[in-house]
Symmetry: C2
């Protein structure tokens, strides 16, 4: 049996951690405000894969009570990554791996700085999921994870071996969700940004769900222009994405259930939004290649202003 | 004595028309919802040039009761320009001139189509003024008018002669406001757009007054990028604006009294906003020169969406 630590038991950590526990893995959940509730009542997941309730889970109020685990899944918002130097090292034994399931580009860098080289992998999650109450997750749609070793800011580093990732992949698959591995995490991250950059930002700036954006001709054209710019920036920084992926992203979004992006939910709830992980890091990667993506820059500046002046 | 018709007695028409009437010109005001009030109580202007109250004004509920006038000042929002074919022709004698004091680029085209060539001039108004009650205008700051003959969409037409405009200019000057004429109205309009395009749009999209935008480093940098793009678009379409005008616009805005743009006031009040006159016409002018200003396009698309989905 593999032991897992879930650092951050929210919409994402609660969902994947719950599935892993249900499939028989030993899963330790780090909780904050929900700790007492989950310790007493367990974890509930409403999912299109089947609703389930884990009446007894390994709930922890802080890392001091947690064992060292084989796989540490980082499922906090990236805006809390300043906590990693105190959260991650106590959870690691010599062979532990950290799997960063956060939105954005190069979000693994904070974990990498906290735990050193060779241990950090990242995963892109294609997941529509919300936390709707204490210890209560609602999984709306999707759930696929595409994960790979962290390559560093310039793709020159080595994360955990693909063989080790394949083992973790198979554990995720055993829970019923789709999971794939890739040796090109940065490339996978850029592909995911082709959705996150237009739709997270526009849903906040335009105060709208994605389906309303897709149905309006002006906002739709803007979303497509942004998607094209993200693709061009990825290509020009050495991560080729096929041109047809632009239309695929548009069609995929047309077919999505009406969905409030996590950034919009965070914004409406007064929580910090992940502007730096998604937009700031993409712009910094572009700058390192002497690129200046104007639309991404403009959304970034608008979001920065809005996050300071709600 | 020269006779004036003020088509649209709001923050702008009420201010300039009131000044002209106070200086002794015969001024006929077209009013809509304020007609009964102004007929009974006259027009009140609170101004840093000196407060005044005109207890008796020539108030009209429609153009049928108005005489033909020497100068017809168009001071409606450009979103009402579809009314011009019925509003303007009854007010014109053989020598009448139409002076379009609206925001935007090529906004004179609607008047030109309604009244034919050679009669239409336009003016850029640098005015901070609000209507704060029926027949009650508050002039906050500035007031200068820069006017010139309408040159058509491609600068190939002839409007009224400069000599005639100079006569009107001197009447405005006699009211105490600054007024200048120019033979390059399109150029003057582009210069004005260097303020309107960034600050009208951002104040709506970011739900903020201009002083908050200027004080935030991200929004400030965005505003400057947009100003630079407007300048570049003007230059590339044949209307040279000196590079130093970018910094001048920033400094000028820094020094402005905290001000809600007219577009933001309209938006907050649920009124139609002038997206096409300011942004749509600038984009169409750019397209005729095979230019694609990305930031202007993005603000345009955001404003179009927001104006449909408040």
């Amino acid at each position: 049996m593999t032991t897992f630590a879930i650092v951050g038991t929210g919409a994402l950590g609660g969902f994947y951690g719950g599935l892993l526990a249900k499939s028989g893995q030993e899963v330790h959940f780090l909780l904050n405000s929900d700790y007492e509730f989950v310790k007493a009542n367990g974890l509930r997941v409403d999912s299109k894969l089947g609703d389930f309730h884990l009446s007894q889970v390994h709930a922890h109020p802080n890392v001091a009570s947690m064992p060292k685990c084989d796989v540490v899944i980082l499922a906090l918002k990236s805006t809390q990554n300043y906590l990693l130097p105190s959260l991650l090292p106590p959870l690691l034994h010599a062979e532990s791996m950290v799997l960063v399931l956060q939105n954005g580009l190069h979000v693994e860098q904070s974990a990498r700085e906290a735990v050193g080289p060779g241990r950090v992998a990242g995963g892109c999650c294609f997941l529509c999921s919300n936390k709707i109450g204490p210890g209560h997750i609602r999984h709306l749609d999707y759930g696929k994870i595409l994960m790979g070793p962290f390559q560093g800011l310039d793709d020159s580093e080595q994360g955990p071996s693909m063989v080790r990732l394949d083992v973790v992949r198979d554990m995720f698959r055993a829970t019923g969700i789709e999971c794939e591995t890739t040796s090109s995490l940065t490339w996978a991250r850029w592909r995911k940004l082709m959705w996150n950059i237009p739709f997270n930002g526009l849903s906040v700036i335009l105060n709208s769900s994605t389906d309303k954006i897709m149905k309006d001709p002006d906002a739709r054209a803007l979303a497509k222009s942004i998607i094209q710019e993200v693709r061009q920036t990825a290509c020009d920084s050495g991560h080729f994405i096929e041109p047809t992926f632009v239309d695929y992203m548009m069609e995929h979004t047309d077919e999505m259930v009406p969905y409030d992006s996590s950034m919009r939910l965070d914004f409406l709830a007064g929580r910090v939004i992940e502007v730096e992980a998604i937009y700031g890091n993409a712009l910094r990667a572009a700058e390192r290649c002497h690129l200046e993506p104007k639309l991404i820059r403009m959304i970034y500046q608008q979001l920065k202003f809005l996050s300071k002046n709600r």
